[in-house]
């Protein structure tokens, strides 16, 4: 299966990735090849087979008790933020 330039643009939009003019044709080509390659899976007979979501049989996601374990360390965590003011993360204006 071959993906088109507009397919790639749509995928990049869904993934929130800005691609350059040079990158687009590269991904048209390589994603088409990857999708062809994983198309091999069609050969497998999987009727009646349960999808496997967890690699350990019988183990499911563990839940913890709803207790407060963490302390507020936002000042430390926000040292890695590109832009912070008054303890808030700054982004461009969303509502004009």
């Amino acid at each position: 299966m071959s993906l088109s330039r507009s397919d790639i643009e749509k995928i990049a939009h869904l993934a929130r990735l800005e691609l350059t003019e040079n990158e687009l044709p590269v991904y048209v080509d390589s994603l088409s090849r990857i999708i062809d390659f994983v198309g091999e899976l069609d050969r497998a007979q999987t009727a009646g087979i349960e999808p496997m979501a967890h690699p350990l049989p019988g183990l499911a996601q563990r839940l913890r008790a709803d207790e407060v374990l963490e302390t507020d360390r936002h000042e430390l965590f926000q040292r890695n933020a590109p832009q912070v003011e008054a303890g808030l993360y700054l982004v461009p204006k969303v509502i004009e």
């Binding site: 993906l3 397919d7 790639i8 995928i11 990049a12 869904l14 993934a15 929130r16 990735l17 800005e18 691609l19 350059t20 990158e23 590269v26 991904y27 390589s30 994603l31 090849r33 990857i34 999708i35 390659f37 994983v38 198309g39 091999e40 899976l41 069609d42 050969r43 497998a44 999987t46 087979i49 349960e50 999808p51 496997m52 979501a53 967890h54 690699p55 350990l56 049989p57 183990l59 996601q61 563990r62 839940l63 913890r64 360390r73 430390l76 965590f77 926000q78 040292r79 890695n80 933020a81 590109p82 832009q83 993360y89 982004v91 461009p92 204006k93 969303v94």
Partner: protein, 489 residues
């Protein structure tokens, strides 16, 4: 043995030397730091060298050892793959996206090894976000193979493997999503162990594909791996996938006899893609096992040839979800002068991620998108079930599977960068263990044209103790794991 220089010793040998006061932890750290720094121009195995912190924690270790307080790992140096968060130290994950990220906390693996008294030498280079099989996708440049610097070290834990191979660090942490511990261990001639899914905490280990990722180790020997695995394995309430089962004393059973061990040879591992000279090394290793009393049985995992396409649906799908957190808002790269919020997301991500990471995010986005989810993602999860069932059946007939780790020895830099599928097929023998959550190892078993060949072991869930025993007994019969590239002898 006591005359061997510091850098030629295994971790166990260094521990013995520290205990007997042959040298101090500071002397050991300095010896490795000096080697490490002088290897950087050739190998580029490190993103960050933490010399001052290393010497300070080695000094603390020396005081504890002098006071008779040290544990078995006190004062031993090691490197951490740059995917593990280290408090106050750059944690880049090999990406421009995190090239400015100073972690505010330690990963559980890092914390446990710190508490055990180990000394961090630095952060090992790696493929960007652990996506790669050659260490050529790192934002910080490729790592080179110490056996031949024109060749790749494998990936994604290429920095960890190259560092141990060149003896610029005696051991390193690593991670494995599709072979990222075992394949570089094979290509660099060192020992690698990927434990069972859930055996080692992933708290603070930057996520790639959460149903596959597992932390582990690259060391000189299985004995060294046993020493360290005991420290990092075990339940962690901070990782919801961590499994609450007791951690055995891995070192205690290393010497168990192998008489009667049933070694399974997976027919599909000895396919036409396997280099004939590598196969010869594997067969020689099998002969050593027969001499040790093991029996060889042929088994078949008929769905295993589908493991690479299965992986390249499941792993990108999970990666596209995990890497959605990098938004240019809370941490990581942010583009200059965003026009609006959507522009901030798109350009920060477009600029911050490298080509292979973007390729996988988009592949994952595609297979999860409306209309394709059933055809690709659910289909792959069903095939994954078949592959797991193949392994389960095989373990009804044998105790451990033994075969090649990688189809070829290390290949030249640039040889496989133009075609992603060719690169992906490097992991054809390793991916199955990740899909089934099984523990895997790679140990050195000889050379082809001066390049190391790796022998892969795959065991049932939580059989690390047995696998380490199987690896260790081979290493008492052979000395492939003690070979060092001439330039680093």
């Amino acid at each position: 043995m006591s005359a061997s220089p510091i850098h030629r010793r295994t971790l166990a040998g260094l521990a013995k030397g520290l205990k007997q006061r042959e040298f101090s932890s500071v002397e050991v750290a300095r010896a490795f730091l000096d080697r490490l720094e002088s290897s950087q121009p050739d190998l580029n195995a490190f993103v960050t060298v933490t010399r001052d912190a290393a010497l300070a924690s080695a000094a603390v270790a020396d005081r504890r050892l002098a006071a008779g307080e040290g544990g078995p790992l006190t004062g031993l140096p090691l490197a951490h793959k740059d995917i593990f968060c280290t408090e106050g130290v750059l944690t880049s994950c090999g990406s421009k996206m995190l090239a400015n990220f100073v972690s505010p906390y330690d990963a559980t693996v890092v914390a446990r090894l710190r508490e055990a008294g180990t000394v961090m030498l630095g952060k090992a280079n790696m493929d960007e976000f652990a996506m790669g099989s050659s260490n050529e996708t790192s934002h910080f440049g490729p790592v080179r193979n110490p056996w031949d610097v024109a060749r790749v070290p494998g990936g994604s834990s290429g920095g960890s493997a190259a560092a141990v191979a060149a003896r610029v660090a005696p051991a390193a942490t690593a991670t494995d999503t599709g072979g990222s511990i075992r394949q570089p261990a094979a290509l660099c001639g060192v020992t690698g162990i990927k434990p069972t899914y859930g055996r080692v905490s992933r708290y603070g280990m930057i996520a790639f594909a959460s149903s596959l990722d597992q932390g582990g180790l690259i060391t000189i020997s299985a004995e060294d791996a046993a020493l360290l695995l005991g420290a990092i394995a075990g339940f962690d309430p901070r990782d919801s996938t961590s499994v609450d089962t007791p951690v055995p004393d891995y070192a205690a059973t290393l010497g168990e006899p192998l008489a009667g061990l049933r070694i399974g040879l997976v027919r599909e591992f000895f396919d036409k893609g396997l280099d004939a000279r590598c196969e010869a090394r594997i067969r020689e290793a099998l002969a050593v096992y027969e001499k040790l009393g093991a029996k060889l049985v042929e088994v078949s995992c008929p769905n295993l040839p589908l493991s690479v396409p299965t992986y390249y649906v499941v792993a990108p799908a999970e990666c596209s979800s995990n890497l959605a957190r990098f938004d240019g808002v809370r941490f990581g790269h942010r583009c200059e002068q965003p026009r609006n919020l959507a522009d901030l997301y798109r350009r920060s991500r477009g600029e911050g991620f490298g080509a292979e990471v973007k390729r996988r995010i988009m592949t994952g986005t595609y297979v999860l998108s409306a209309g394709y989810y059933d055809a690709y993602y659910l289909k792959a999860q069903r095939v994954r079930q078949l592959i797991s069932a193949d392994f389960a059946r095989a373990f009804g007939e044998c105790d451990v599977l033994v075969g090649p780790t990688s189809p070829t020895p290390a290949f030249p830099l640039g040889a496989k960068t133009s075609d992603p599928i060719t690169m992906y097929l490097n992991d054809i023998y390793t991916i199955g263990a990740n899909l089934a959550g099984l523990p895997g190892m790679s140990i050195p078993c000889g050379f082809v044209d001066g390049l190391p060949v790796g022998l892969q072991l795959v065991g049932p869930h939580f059989s690390e103790a047995r696998m380490l025993n199987v690896a260790h007994r081979y290493q008492t019969e052979t000395d492939w794991h003690l070979q060092v590239p001439a330039a680093y002898a």
